[in-house]
């Protein structure tokens, strides 16, 4: 092979490699992130309502400013939707790797009657050691739920279940400044949840 031919060949190879790198790694960075959840424009900051954390401390959602808060309303008695969601959130944290250190996942109990702080702690930490459970006086939980547009109501169950709690099953993402930014549907995958949270981590 002549030197010229070899140079041309190398040139072509370099061009192909360059195009590959540009298409694979560079261009996607300039494309806007497509959210799997619904984007919310909220004017209200995270509430300064005193709640009871599963670690025994009194906390307010506002205390977590600086971190991205992933908020979920559920209860330990719930066998289907709540474990499914917490399990997905746990996988999403794993996907975020070290970045997950800047994320606080919180489950607020919509069943403070049955969910003691101790039971709640064991329940949420089972899914991920950094997850936090929150309960409190019904009036305090009510105020926080109302602020986030979360609906819940007790409904009479059978002799075995006693009662069940119907509740909004979406997951809320609050940015580092304390503003509600995103509502994730129950159907979202761990990958979609992680990608959406990642956007707010910057």
């Amino acid at each position: 092979m002549s030197t010229t031919a070899r140079r041309v060949l190398i040139g072509v190879a370099v061009a192909i490699l360059g195009a590959f790198v540009a298409l694979t790694f560079v261009l996607p960075r300039f494309q806007p992130h497509v959210f799997s959840g619904s984007v919310i424009q909220s004017n209200d900051k995270a509430p300064r309502v005193d709640l009871q954390a599963s670690n025994g401390e009194t906390v307010r959602i506002a205390d977590f400013e600086g971190e991205v808060v992933v908020l979920y309303f559920g209860y330990t008695f719930c066998p289907d939707v709540c474990p499914t969601t917490l399990s997905k959130l746990s996988k999403a944290m794993d996907l975020l790797g070290e970045k997950a250190e800047d994320v606080q996942v919180i489950m607020v109990s919509v069943d403070p009657e049955r969910d003691t702080p101790e039971a709640l702690a064991e329940y949420v930490e089972y899914f991920h050691p950094d997850f936090m459970g929150i309960t409190g006086e019904l009036s305090a939980v009510d105020r926080v739920a109302t602020l986030y547009g979360v609906y819940y109501e007790k409904e009479e169950g059978s002799a075995a279940t006693g009662y069940l709690v119907n509740h909004t099953a979406t997951v809320m993402v609050i940015d580092r400044e304390g503003y509600l930014k995103l509502v994730l549907p129950f159907e979202g995958t761990a990958e979609q949840i992680a990608a959406d949270i990642d956007y707010f981590l910057g």
Partner: protein
């Protein structure tokens, strides 16, 4: 989720159809999710393939739970409502029904065993027409 029809399944299906469709009820994909001790309840999921006439899953029972109920989760505008399925879960003739997270499920009320990965649970399914079946299902991380 659609299940891909393999040639073998197709052949079996044709065979069953040619025999008058008395294929009975086959249970597959049965499992339960691992859960902490603090969770009083659990849920079991499975797929029922009914090769015969229309039937109904009327009840389920196991020693692993204080009580067992057939439930469904209904989502309306993001609000989750869990309800007992009155009269049982209908199984159409030559059709299949999947019990999956966020939908139909067998609710285990008052877990009597720890739902740890690998735990095997015997669950008896009672049908309106077909004979009862006792299946084994595995508790696993999902």
């Amino acid at each position: 989720m659609m299940k891909r029809i393999t040639p073998v399944a197709l052949a079996l299906g044709l065979l069953a159809a040619s025999c008058g469709g008395s294929g009975g009820i086959e249970v597959s994909d049965q499992w339960g999710r691992t859960s902490p001790k603090a969770a009083e309840n659990g849920a079991f999921y499975l797929t029922l393939d009914n090769g015969g006439e229309a039937d109904t899953l009327v009840a389920a029972s196991t020693d692993a739970c204080g009580a067992v109920e057939l439930h469904t989760t209904v989502m309306t505008d993001g609000v989750m409502k869990m309800q007992m399925v009155e009269g049982g879960i209908d199984l159409p003739a030559d059709g299949s029904v999947s019990l999956e997270p966020g939908g139909l499920h067998v609710m285990c009320i008052g877990k009597q065993v720890d739902f740890v990965a690998g735990e095997m649970i015997e669950l008896t399914l009672d049908f309106a027409i077909a004979d009862s079946q006792t299946i084994e299902l595995e508790i696993r991380d999902e």
